[in-house]
């Protein structure tokens, strides 16, 4: 067994952020062999990355995973979630409470229940999750404890009632009417109803920002019912994007110089975090890490039949493989406030200052 595959000791806490370049997922050891998984992305073998990681550590997902949280249904946060839920049969499944409404389920049913295209989508993954769901479910809304075990409390800080109602009112536009041709919804942005998590494990606090954007953070900052305290670890929201940043989060909700972890994202020529985002995050903390360097975000296309490759070149179409690497940032520490986090960069993960080097 390599050092990478050594499981944490029972008294040790761990947070590992997987970010293969497209998608992100978190594995969290809350002590005593219990794990929490947040979101899902795929690894190189096309399997949920977190599941593969736990198996490599010798952890039994069916027995040891206590909670799975789907923060929202964007493709990059939910791919492989149905497999994850199936494999972790002992886990409580949690998603935003708005997703259990009749209106949302009506949309999922209309879009996916009689779907035709083989093209996947986050909504389809969620449909598969709901269909295969046998586990206990819990639903997240602002300032709710969604899970508690021993010294660990998992709070959801969002979405709040205002976002809940506004989301429902927008849903009707997504439900196809009779006679309307089907399509894949890809432009709909559920970031503002994503679930931000606040996790207390004894004295240690973690803030997992999901893809929450700035207006949602303003609501969280103003909330009078959210748990107080300061987190030592921050999963930087929305891949480090400036539209998800509110400096008051760093000032009011995080310790000075927290451990910040980022899972980058790329679409076409657009990369998050961009140079300005990197500078901004580093202005708040030097302890910032990225699951991949920017150079890993552009992969060469898969090699195919030479006539296929030649035709692609001649057509002017630029084809890129979506990266699916083993890369991850792992933080471990002993429980209790006497120790510091120890960072391990797995694969090509890097310090954020080296992200664009």
């Amino acid at each position: 067994m390599t050092a990478t595959n050594l499981p944490p000791a029972n008294g040790e806490l761990e947070i590992t952020l997987f970010g293969p370049g497209y998608g992100e997922s978190i594995a969290l050891h809350i002590g005593d062999g219990s794990w929490v998984l947040v979101d899902s992305c795929l690894g190189p073998a096309g399997e949920p990355r977190a599941l593969q990681y736990l198996t490599d550590l010798g952890v039994d997902p069916a027995r040891d995973v206590r909670l799975i949280v789907a923060t929202h249904w964007h493709d990059d946060h939910i791919r492989g979630m149905a497999k994850l839920v199936t494999a972790c049969g002992n886990a409580v499944f949690c998603c935003a409470s708005v997703l259990r409404t009749r209106e949302f389920l009506g949309m999922v049913g209309a879009l996916e229940h009689r779907g035709l295209s083989s093209t996947g989508s986050g909504v389809r993954e969620l449909y598969k999750v709901f269909k295969s769901l046998k586990a206990t479910t819990t639903f997240a809304i602002a300032s709710r404890i969604i899970y508690a075990e021993g010294a660990c409390q998992v709070w959801s800080l969002s979405p709040n009632d205002k976002e809940f109602v506004s989301f429902l009112s927008e849903l009707s536009s997504l439900i196809p009417g009779q006679g309307e041709t089907r399509r894949r919804i890809s432009s709909f942005t559920p970031n503002r109803i994503s679930v931000v998590l606040w996790i207390n494990i004894g004295d240690v606090v973690l803030l997992l920002g999901s893809d929450m954007e700035k207006p949602g953070w303003v609501d969280i900052l103003h909330s009078t019912t959210r748990p107080r305290g300061k987190a030592s670890v921050f999963k930087v929201p929305h891949h480090g994007s400036g539209n998800a940043d509110d400096p008051r989060v760093w000032q009011n909700m995080l310790e000075t110089g927290p451990w910040a972890v980022v899972a980058p994202w790329r679409l076409g020529g657009r990369v998050l975090p961009n140079r300005r985002d990197v500078r901004r995050i580093l202005s708040f903390t030097a302890n910032a890490y990225s699951t991949v360097p920017s150079s890993q975000l552009t992969s060469s296309p898969t090699r195919r039949h030479r006539m296929v490759d030649k035709t692609i070149r001649e057509s002017g179409i630029q084809l890129r493989s979506m990266p699916m690497s083993q890369d991850a940032v792992r933080l471990r520490r002993a429980a209790g406030n006497q120790t510091q986090w120890r960072v391990e960069l797995l694969g090509s993960a890097c310090a954020l200052k080296d992200f664009a080097a």
Partner: protein, 201 residues
């Protein structure tokens, strides 16, 4: 008389796999023009084949068809295609697909579009690639269907012309996915109702 979803279409066409010499006989989609139930096109794996065939009774209104590619009759069977008499074989162009993707449009720019692709040839089930595709690659006919969320097939292969010439072809065809029907909505609502009850005990 043959059932839709079986080899009816292949039997009536000259769709051959160039390598194996076998018929390429997977009927993947049948479109119905209207309630008179005229089949106006279908897709044989790697080959768009045009034709016009009458469906004999029993036939329900088009709105009640299951558009998953297997139209249903009142007795639960696929409708019977009454094919025209087999004509003398005439030479026709054939197409041999080397690579096939299904994609959907993420964004449309001034000169190109961004798309995510599933490699159908490799049996992929998740999007594993992204492409920037010049808008010039989209035919004028398909440009009407071009929209964010639009689903397309991209096929690269060889076309053998009637004269026997072989040429490489890259073709992007936007899928005109069938419209949502009354029965789709009914089924979806029932699914949603059941799921709602199960999630809100």
């Amino acid at each position: 008389m043959l059932h839709a979803g079986q080899s009816a279409a292949a039997d009536s066409t000259d769709a051959f796999d160039e390598d194996s010499g076998r018929r390429s006989d997977t009927l993947t989609q049948v479109r119905l023009r209207d309630a008179s139930a005229v089949v106006n096109a279908w897709l044989v794996r790697g080959n768009y084949v045009s034709g016009s065939f009458r469906i004999s009774t029993p036939v329900k209104p088009a709105s009640d068809y299951d558009y998953t590619g297997h139209p249903q009759t009142a007795d639960g069977h696929a409708p019977i295609l009454d094919l025209p008499p087999r004509a003398r074989r005439v030479p026709s162009a054939t197409f041999h697909a080397l690579q096939e993707w299904e994609g959907y449009v993420l964004a449309i720019g001034k000169h190109d579009l961004e798309a995510r692709l599933i490699d159908i040839t490799a049996g992929g089930t998740y999007e594993g690639e992204e492409a920037t595709i010049p808008l010039l690659e989209i035919s004028a006919h398909d440009s009407k269907r071009l929209r964010v969320g639009g689903v397309f097939r991209w096929v690269i292969g060889y076309e053998r012309t009637i004269g026997g010439a072989r040429r490489r072809v890259s073709q992007i065809v936007f899928r005109d996915l069938p419209a949502v029907t009354k029965s789709d909505l009914r089924d979806s609502e029932e699914w949603a109702r059941n799921m709602f009850q199960s999630l809100n005990p």
